[in-house]
Structures are given as C-alpha cells and as structure tokens.
C-alpha cells in the first residue's frame, strides 16, 4: 500500500539491520506491469531527521528509496503520479553540502529533496528519467494505469450501475423518467449517457433547454426523497449574458421540475457562487435565474469561492504544516489560510440543500458556473447527509462514481494526471475539499459511516497515483473513447477486495437518519492525519484507544457467543449423559476488566 509504507518511515525507530546486502529484485516492491527504469545512490534530505544516504529506484510507477545507513530503516515509496513539479537545485558553483540536487514538489502536501553528486551527469539523468515517467503525457507515454496488470477478486467497475442506482431511489416513477438522449454524448459531452429528467419534458424540450445552459449541462435529477418526493437537481448556469436573455423552454422546464412533487411552493435554486461572481459571469455570457423570468423560483447564493481561491488556500495550508508545523501562532496561521472557512461554507451550503429537501418544503436546483465543481460538492454532500446508503463503503463509491466521475468533474484538469504543467490554472483541490468535508462529518458523527479515515486517505492517495483508471480523464465520453474500464483497474477493486481494512468498527446502520453536521469553526478541525501525516512528531495514534478497546470487546463478545453455543451443545448432551461435570467458568474465560 502506498500510504502505508510511507507512513512507516518512522525515523525514531532506529532498528539496525543485519543483512546489509539486499537482493535488488527483492528490495523494491513491484506491481504486475511495473518495470524497473533506473537506480541511483543519493542523499535524501529528510526535513525531520537530516540527510540520509540511500538508494533510489525508479520504475514506470514509483520512486522508491531505501536508506543505506545501518541505523535508519527509512523507506520512501512515492507513486510518480503525485509529483507535481521537479526542480534542479544548486548550480555548478554550489558549495554547501548537499546543495546540489533535485527538489520534487508533490501533490500530497510534501516536498522531496535529493542531493546528488555534481560529476557524471547523475542529476541530469535522474531529472530526465523522472520527468519522463512522472509526466508521461508530455512524452507520448501511456499513464501507468494502462500498464498496470494487477488482478483483484472483485471488479470495481461493476460497483456503479446507474440504472440500478436510480432504481434504488425508486426511479423511474410517474414524474421522472430515464432518458437515453445523451447515449452517444450528443446532447452534452460532459454528462453521463443516462439521465433522469421530468416525465413531462420531452427530448425535444431537453434539447432546447440545453441551448440555454452553459456547456449544455441541463438540469437533471441527482436524488429524490423517498417519502416527500422532493428532488435535488443539478445543472450549470443559464446563459443570461449582459443583455439578460431569457429562454421560455428553460423557464418552463424548471416549472415542470417544481411541480413533480405536487408542491405549490417555489423551486429553490442554490447558486453556489458569491453573488458578485454570479453577476460578473454575465459578462462572459453566463449569469443566474432572475426573479422576473423565473416567477416560481427563489434563488439564494451560497458564497462559495472559485477554484483559484481554493488552490491558493491549500497552498497556504502547506506553508504552515510542511515541513515544520507553525508553532507559535498556530491558530491564527490556520485561520489566515481560510481553508476551514471554505470548508464551513461548503458544508453550510450542503446543509441548506439537505434541509430544504428533507423538510419537504421544496425541490432544489443547484448550480455554480459549469456545474462540475461546487455543484458536485453540494449535491454529493447533501446526499450524504440525507441518504444513509451513501455512508456505507459501496454507497460512497457509488456517490463518487455518480456525482463526480460520471457528471464530469474535470479530474484530469483539476489534478493534472501525467501532465507537466504544474502552474496550470485549471488545477484545484476541489475533490480533496469534498473529502475533507466528508472527514469533518465522520468526525462529528463517528458511528454514522461504515468507512474509516484510512478509506478516505486511500481514495486521496489514488486520486494522484495513476495506478487506477478511476479518476482519469474529465468526463464519461473521454473515458469511453479511451476504453478506461477495459484497459485499467478500478480503485474500488483494491478497496472492495480488502474491505476490512477500511471499516469503522463503530458503524451503526441507521436508515432514514438525516445527519446535519455543525458547520461552526468551534467544531471544524484541520485534518491532521492527512495534511500533516509526513511529520513524524504529529503522527497520531492508530488506532485510537477507544477504538482499540472497542475492538477488544468485540473479539470478547464473539468468543463468548461461541462459548455459549458450545455450552448449549454440551448441555443438551449432558441431558442424555448426566455424568458429565461442567468445568469451572472462571477457568475458561477472563472476566470483563473495563472500568469507567
């Protein structure tokens, strides 16, 4: 496991190794399909424990470093996919010790520095090899996911079947139908092929509505409330423009949506953007639903900022946690990153969406500009609050697969898989922010989620790793063209074939319970186990003591149940053979020692 081996770089355990000569082929873990490219002796400049001499092995998938020092068991295991930028440090005239080498910026909140010898082009070679394999797109090489030959006993690509998921929600019904109008992505190339739309809207209506929505991303159903039948509908902004254009079909279509649950109240539109941004978008042809045109709708702005603000905010978080944690003014530094403030706004927006639907007051339409960043965050978080199914491991996979992957969150652009352009303005940690919100919720409701923190961290690690096809490309149509499901392995195959590792022992299944997290700074926390996990000093206990105790009790319970069954058998045997004497119970089992 990627994160596991890296987490094990605990440098305080100075376990000395006896066998110094390792077999090279054994020294480096290798996935099927992974090939050795080069290896080199380097100095790893560990920000926590100083320079460590080691040998680095580069494959077409990872960078692997093993310490050559006897008193350090340090191992680095970094998929090349996490590399965002490779820089040369120091020049020919550099004098200081270890000042000549490479500085690698990673997408997962760390930097790696290697010092190399000045002679023999060793830095140039390593730079070229790394650049070539970390950024395969620039070198006409395939992304590793297409070379990966791993086999799992479950097929993650089977997890999400849109028809089944809509059927689970009770769809189609009298008011909502499944349409295949986008079967070959001809209506909207960034939407999935299968869409749920109002029964009363014809395919022709949909085509006309598409002309008035940015990138043809028409309002379609994301989720329907099983009882009150209010819905969450997602789309992109209307193309109102400076002149304040109107479109009768779009207006009628929203009214049809409003009427599907036979409510007389207005349709609630949540525009995720700050008001000023929505107004400014008119200049480029976008905008929002005005009161004049949409009489039966009520619009609220949720004040969530754009992808650029989020990117800068995360950069600031990195500044205060890596390599050293800002100590003296931790709280005000944290505040100045605004990261948790953004989290608060996203959660607040999602709570509003969920509350509106749960109370049965009205259906909700959510959009931002294009409906693939903030919109995906809001709909998926609201669904997580409303529908306990999505809080299970498979349910969450389906949620991600549905609201993010199939509805065209631009993973390729936001993450920059295999792309060398680290400064691309399209990059932004929107999905990470969503996972952070999920973590905040799981922190506030520790018994409500089937999955644990490790599950979320694993998803984030493979968001970058390029080992699986799950997060590759920007939309379904592109994935289909590339035959991703045939040619790559799904991340869910890895997770579902070993689910126990990702289970939360406290999970209590509760149907129909709506979860409203408290979106107050008093409760929001920086996710230390993710953002500061490289710092061995901050490393938190795994598992935590309460969890550990609970697992012990669980084991004890299972043992007792077994004993009881055995006793029942023995007792029924005893009835026929009264000579059997029972053994003393106190010899058989430990009594509960837990005190409170």
């Amino acid at each position: 496991m990627v994160q596991e081996s890296v987490l094990n770089t605990n440098n305080f355990k100075k376990t000395s190794r006896d066998g110094v000569n390792w077999d090279l082929s054994e020294a480096v873990p290798r996935l099927p399909g992974e090939t050795h490219v080069a290896d080199k002796e380097v100095i790893y400049i560990c920000p926590f424990n100083g320079p460590i001499k080691g040998r680095v092995y580069i494959t077409n998938y990872r960078l692997y470093l093993r310490s050559l020092e006897t008193d350090s068991a340090l191992i680095l295991d970094v998929p090349l996919g996490v590399i965002s930028r490779i820089e040369k440090m120091g020049g020919a005239t550099s004098r200081g010790e270890n000042s000549y080498g490479l500085d690698i910026t990673c997408k997962d909140m760390r930097n790696l520095r290697f010092a190399l010898k000045q002679e023999g082009h060793s830095r140039r070679d390593m730079f070229e090899i790394l650049t070539r394999h970390a950024f395969p797109l620039a070198h006409s090489l395939p992304i590793f996911a297409f070379l990966n030959e791993e086999k799992f006993n479950v097929d993650g690509w089977m997890v999400y079947n849109p028809v089944e998921e809509y059927r689970r929600q009770g769809l189609p019904n009298h008011h909502w139908r499944i349409t295949f109008i986008n079967k070959c992505y001809e209506l909207c190339d960034t939407y999935p092929s299968l869409l749920v739309v109002p029964y009363r809207a014809s395919d022709e209506d949909l085509r006309r509505v598409a002309t008035f929505r940015s990138r043809n991303r028409i309002p379609v159903l994301s989720w329907i409330h099983p009882e009150n039948k209010t819905v969450i509908v997602r789309c992109s902004q209307p193309l109102v423009g400076m002149s304040g254009k109107r479109n009768k079909d779009d207006e009628k279509y929203l009214d049809v949506i409003r009427e599907t649950n036979r409510q007389i109240s207005k349709l609630t539109i949540y525009d995720a953007r700050p008001n000023v941004n929505a107004v400014a978008n008119k200049a480029t042809g976008g905008g929002y639903e005005s009161d004049d045109a949409y009489h039966n709708a009520e619009l609220f702005f949720l004040d969530i900022h754009n992808i650029h603000v989020m990117r800068e905010s995360l950069k600031k978080v990195k500044d205060i946690v890596y390599p050293n944690v800002e100590e003296s003014h931790w709280l005000s530094s944290l505040e100045s990153t605004h990261w948790l403030e953004h989290i608060k706004l996203v959660l607040t927006g999602a709570i509003q969406v969920a509350d509106k639907v749960s109370s049965g007051k009205s259906s909700v339409l959510v959009h931002c500009s294009d409906g693939w960043d903030r919109t995906a965050q809001l709909t998926s978080l609201a669904m997580l609050m409303l529908d306990s199914f999505y809080r299970s491991i498979e349910g969450f996979e389906i949620l991600v697969q549905k609201e993010w992957i199939s509805f065209g969150h631009k993973f390729a652009s936001r993450i920059g898989h295999g792309d060398k352009n680290h400064a691309d303005a399209d990059r932004s940690p929107i999905f990470l922010q969503f996972i952070d919100c999920v973590w905040q919720m799981s922190k506030q409701f520790p018994t409500a989620f089937e999955f644990n923190e490790q599950f979320l961290i694993t998803i984030l690690d493979h968001l970058y790793s390029c080992r699986f096809g799950t997060f590759l490309y920007n939309c379904e149509s592109a994935r289909e063209r590339q035959k991703v499901t045939e040619r790559t392995v799904s991340l869910w195959s890895l997770i579902n074939s070993n689910k126990d590792r990702f289970k939360n022992p406290f999970y209590t299944k509760e149907i129909n319970r709506v979860l409203y997290p408290v979106a107050s700074m008093r409760h929001l926390e920086l996710w230390v186990n993710y953002y500061i996990r490289w710092n061995p000093r901050i490393k938190q206990q795994q598992p935590n003591p309460v969890e550990q105790r609970y697992l012990e009790l669980l084991a004890l319970r299972d043992e007792y149940i077994k004993r009881l069954e055995e006793l029942q058998l023995a007792n029924s045997a005893k009835l026929s053979d009264p000579s059997t004497s029972p053994s003393s119970p106190s010899q058989m089992m430990p009594h509960v020692q837990t005190h409170f």
């Binding site: 997290p517 107050s520 309460v546 409170f596």
Partner: protein, 637 residues
C-alpha cells in the same frame, strides 16, 4: 401545569424566517393558557437552606433553533442558590434525567457560581452592581460554569422585581464573612447524613497514617519520613498537620522559618527519585540574616543532593514560569468566548474563532503547563534526579505542576479515587488558597487576578486520548532559553535536546496506558475541551454525534459482553438463563447530543443550525476570487 409561553413553537412549525433577535417581544408570546396560574413547583431546599426572596411571573428564555421560547415561573433566591421554578423539565425523558445533578438542578445557580449580572434597560445591556436606581426589564446572569440565563421581568410586579434583583445582587456581590458561607449552616443541619458513606477510598492525608501509606505505595519510605512536628498547627497554619520530609532532615529544622525552606515530599518515582516542593525563605536585605539563611539552606540541600548518589534539580516556578497574573488574564479572556448571549453573537464570533482563541492565550498556557510537567518528568524518569519545585508559598504553581507530573507518571492518579486523593494531597493539604483564588468571600476585585489556578489542571484531564489529556504547552523553548541563559549558557541547548529526545522517543513507541503518559504538545494537537466549554451553547451541539456516540457504543458492547458472561455462568450452573434486561443506560444514543452528559439536550428538534454571518474579506486573494473557473470561453453562445 404552568402556563407555558411558546414562541414560534418547536419542530417544523416555526416562523417563516428564523428570527435572530435576542429578546422575545411581549406580543410574540402566545400563552397556551391565558391565565398564568403558577402551580406551586416546590422549591427543593437543602438542610439548613433558607428562602430569602422570590418573584413570580418571571419568564425564562430557552434558546431553540434560533428562536426563543419563554417559560413562566418563579425566580427565587436562597442563601445557597438562585433558582427558577418552572415547568421546563417535562421535555426531558428518563435517559437524560438519569444524569441530573441531585443537588443543583438545571435551573439552579449557586450564589458562588454567579460570575456577572447584567440588566437590560431599553434593549441596552449594563452590568449590575450595588444599589440600583432603576430596575431592569431583563436580567442576564453569566455563570462561572459558563451557563447564561435570561430572565424577563416585564410581567413581574414592580415590588417583586425590586426585591429579587436587589436580593440577587446583594447575595452574590456583597463581601461575606467566612462563617456565613452556606456550607456551615448546611453542615450543621445535615451533620448526621455525612458519615453514611462507609467505603470512601479517597485518601484525605489528614493523618500520619495516610502519609505513611502514600510513602509505602510509592516506595518512598526508604529516603523519606512522615513527621508530626506540625501537630495542632504548632509550626504553621499554612501547612498540613502531617507531611513528609527527607529522612536525614532534622525535625527541629522545620520550625526555624515556619516551614519555609523545607523540602516537602510530593511523590516518589519507581527509580527512587522524588518530586519535592519548597516555599521560599522570606526575602531579606540584611547580610547577616542572609548568611544564616544560606547556611540553613545548604544544610537542607545536603539531605536531597548528595552527588553522585543523589542529585537535585531546582525548578524555581516563581521566576521561571507563568505568573498567576498571566493565568488569570488568559482565563478571563478565554471564558468570555463561551459566555454567549444569543445565536447572532455565536455566529459573529465564529468566523474569527481561531484568532479569538489564540488572543486569549489560554491554550498556550495549558501547553506551557504540560510542557513544564513533561520536563520535570524527564528529569525524574530519564535523568534520575530529584526535582525540587520552589515557589513563594509553594501553594499555587507547585500544586499545579506537581499534580500534573503525577498524573503523567503514576497510573493510580488516573483512577477516580486516585485522582481525588491527588487533589486532596496536592491542592487541599498543599494549602492552595481556594478561598482567595476563587474569591468565595467576594472580597474585592483586587484578589480576582489570583483566581483560576486550578483550572489548567482540570482542563488538561479533558480528553480520553492518551488516557486523559490532549490539551497542551511551546513557548517554553523561548522561555527556558531566556531564563537560563544567564546561568547555564552552554547547557540550555542540551536541556532542550534532552527534552526533545525524551518526548520524541516516548511518542515513537506504542503506548502503555498503565504506565507513563505524555501528552502531545504540538500546536494542532491543542484543542478546546469542547464538552466542557461549549456545553451550554445550543448552536454547538451535534445531535447524535460527538465523542459520546463512540463512548455509548463502547458501553453498550460492555453490557452485552457482561450479559453473555452471566449467561455462560448460568449455563455452567445448569440454570435457565434469565432474559438479562440490559440496563439501557444509553439506549437512545442517536438522540444524545455531543455534549452529553455535561449538558442535557437543549435542542428539541432535529433542525440543522445554520451559520448566519457570512464571509470574511479574503484580503490579498480578492483578485483571484473574481476570476472565472475556466480559462476558456463559454460554449455555444
């Protein structure tokens, strides 16, 4: 039933827009029954407690879903507490009332718990004290336990308003004589009932035997002896009658400076090193007296400092650590963050929560306390040194640091009885001036600065993580360097290295919860003890969530395991298994709030709380905020 004024109602039928006004206007109050018949809700008086004054038709506000509900009742003041007698508790079911305080009810405020009283005059809030010329329409009481009460007096008879307001002000603010404290009349009236607990394991340290037991328990009896030199408080009233000193110390040394300058034993480590405390000798100008003091101290030091066998390290807490003033100032800023009058105030402060928290310095103080305690632990545990804590009276920071060290090092102190014994030993017998520090006699504000000393100790116990604590200490690095630099310019780095190595190495190993426990002291690990500090704030409650959710799962599992155990026992004895009725302690865990059991459920509906204040300026990111998400033009226009 009492007349119950319900504004906006509970559940889903509320006013269309949430109202964030802090006070309910009279016309908004719809009473269920028009006549406000106050059925006598009986006032529960403790033995010896006397009713002093009362007022009827008082409206108490209950915050609910950003609306406010009013409940009619009677406000009374006794010589022990202020109590509101209203029918508010009917909403709580048994699960919750199980955990009620039996002495102090939900609507009771003991006189000593009152922190600040405000009156509202024409929607303006003013502090109330002394003689009043004009009586307020509303009374707001801020409590030391961070509760905030709002009482509306608009419907109360004028003379009753005068009586209750001046009564409350007088009995909570006027200086008191020690003998007038309620506990004396209580003890006199309830004398017989106090001795009914036969098995109280808490060691009180009131007898020589108690100290001998403690010496024996920690194996300190080789080098230390319990002495009776202060029997009948002949030497000093400040000291306990019995205490422990180094064996070689002549008993006649103790009275020389009324117990000052004597190393008093606190605790012995498994390796034989001891934690000691000493009150400083009086400051003298006269050279001759100084000479006497010096030779006295030299003699005393030899009893605990005999290199190479025994080495003592002196920690002067008066000069090299936090001042009491620092702690008091931080605490008054900190507590203000939790005394929240209404929803608007909660959300207004939410956006700058972290900087507000930081500017109070409270968490930093907690961290410094923990760090100091870890340093001392390192000396005892890793360097095999005795540690002598030195302070002017050895009754403030000495109590704090020495009890923290013991909680970290001695698992016995982490049991309930052990902890109670620790408080008894270090704080009560240690002579901590609770009366002054808590200002129980309402002397004047001069003393106030010395108050909240025992709080860092209680706060550091907060989290179950690592056994008990998580709240933590950093500035010490700078502090240490600054203070020591004059004396030990070379060894300060070494000291820091020792600390780091000890701390890092402990944290890199798996934790033994029955052994040494060191809290984390890095910035992100130091958090507000939410269950205590946020417990009365409805907006901060997570319904069905929080740590209590996992704790109740744990308890349920324990019950299940125990009942299985019983069943197996029964099987063995050939009996028919009784259907073990689970005690359903926390059955309805989904309904418990995150603040359970410190506060009862205050929000009755499951509506979400929504922030009401918006976005703070982004500052230098303003230009980014204006950009569009996609760099390309919009599609088909």
């Amino acid at each position: 039933m009492l007349g119950k004024g319900v504004v906006g109602g509970g559940g889903g039928t509320k006013a269309p827009k949430p109202s964030f006004v802090s006070y309910v206007r009279p016309e908004e109050i719809h009473t269920n029954e028009k006549e406000v018949t106050e059925k006598e809700v009986t006032l529960h008086l403790l033995p010896g407690e006397q009713l002093l004054c009362e007022a009827s038709t008082v409206l108490k506000y209950v915050q609910e879903d950003s609306c406010q509900r009013g409940i009619y009742g009677k406000l009374v003041c006794t010589d022990f507490k202020i109590a509101f007698l209203g029918d508010d508790e009917s909403a709580l079911d048994n699960d919750e009332t199980q955990f009620k305080n039996k002495v102090i009810g939900e609507n009771d405020i003991t006189l000593h718990c009152v922190d600040q009283i405000y009156g509202v005059f024409d929607e303006k809030k003013k502090t109330l004290f002394g003689q009043l010329k004009k009586y307020p329409e509303k009374l707001i009481i801020h409590c030391k336990d961070l509760r905030v009460f709002h009482f509306c007096l608009r419907y109360t008879k004028e003379e009753e308003v005068k009586r209750i307001v001046s009564g409350i002000i007088h009995h909570t603010q006027a200086p008191k004589l020690l003998k007038r404290l309620f506990l004396f009349s209580y003890a006199a009236a309830a004398r017989n009932s106090t001795a009914t607990h036969p098995k109280n394991h808490t060691v009180m340290f009131e007898t020589l035997q108690d100290w001998c037991w403690e010496l024996e328990r920690t194996k300190g009896n080789m080098k230390y002896k319990a002495v009776r030199v202060n029997e009948g408080y002949q030497v000093s009233e400040r000291l306990p009658e019995y205490f422990v000193v180094p064996t070689p110390l002549p008993e006649e040394d103790v009275p020389r400076f009324q117990g000052h300058g004597i190393p008093m034993w606190c605790w012995s480590c498994h390796n034989g090193c001891a934690l000691l405390k000493m009150s400083a000798l009086p400051k003298e100008q006269d050279d001759a007296v100084l000479q006497v003091q010096k030779s006295f101290l030299d003699g005393v030091y030899k009893t605990i400092h005999r290199p190479p066998y025994e080495i003592v390290k002196t920690e002067d807490l008066s000069s090299s650590f936090l001042s009491l003033q620092d702690i008091q100032t931080a605490h008054s800023k900190f507590k203000q963050l939790f005394l929240i009058d209404n929803s608007t105030e909660f959300w207004d402060t939410d956006i700058k929560w972290f900087s507000l928290l930081e500017s109070s310095s409270w968490l930093d103080i907690i961290r410094r306390c923990l760090k100091k305690a870890i340093e001392i632990t390192e000396c005892l545990e890793a360097q095999n040194m005795n540690v002598l804590l030195l302070e002017e009276n050895a009754s403030d920071l000495c109590c704090l640091i020495s009890s923290l060290v013991q909680v970290m090092m001695d698992p016995h102190c982490r049991t309930r009885v052990g902890f109670q014994s620790l408080v008894q030993k270090e704080w009560i017998m240690g002579g901590h001036c609770f009366l002054d520090r808590c200002n129980h006699l309402r002397q004047s504000d001069k003393e106030e600065h010395q108050r909240q000393l025992s709080l860092p100790l209680t706060q550091s116990k907060s989290s179950p993580k690592r056994g008990f604590f998580r709240e933590e200490t950093d500035h010490l690095i700078k502090n240490l360097l600054g203070k020591r630099i004059s004396k030990l310019i070379n060894s300060s780095d070494e000291l820091q290295d020792n600390f780091r190595e000890f701390y890092d190495s402990w944290h890199s190993k798996p934790t033994d919860y029955h052994g040494l426990l060191l809290p984390h002291i890095e910035g992100p690990e130091i958090k507000v003890w939410a269950q205590r500090y946020l417990r009365w704030i409805p907006e901060a409650q997570i319904l069905g969530g929080g740590r209590v959710a996992t704790m109740s799962k744990l308890l349920e599992m324990m019950e299940e395991v125990q009942s299985l155990q019983e069943k197996i026992d029964e099987r063995h004895h050939g009996q028919v298994a009784l259907q073990a009725e689970a005690s359903s302690l926390l059955r309805a865990s989904a309904r418990l709030s995150s603040l359970f059991p410190f506060a009862l459920l205050q929000r009755h509906s499951s509506k979400p709380v929504l922030p009401t204040s918006g976005w703070k300026a982004l500052g230098d990111e303003e230009d980014l905020a204006k950009r569009e998400d996609e760099s390309v033009d919009l599609g088909d226009l």
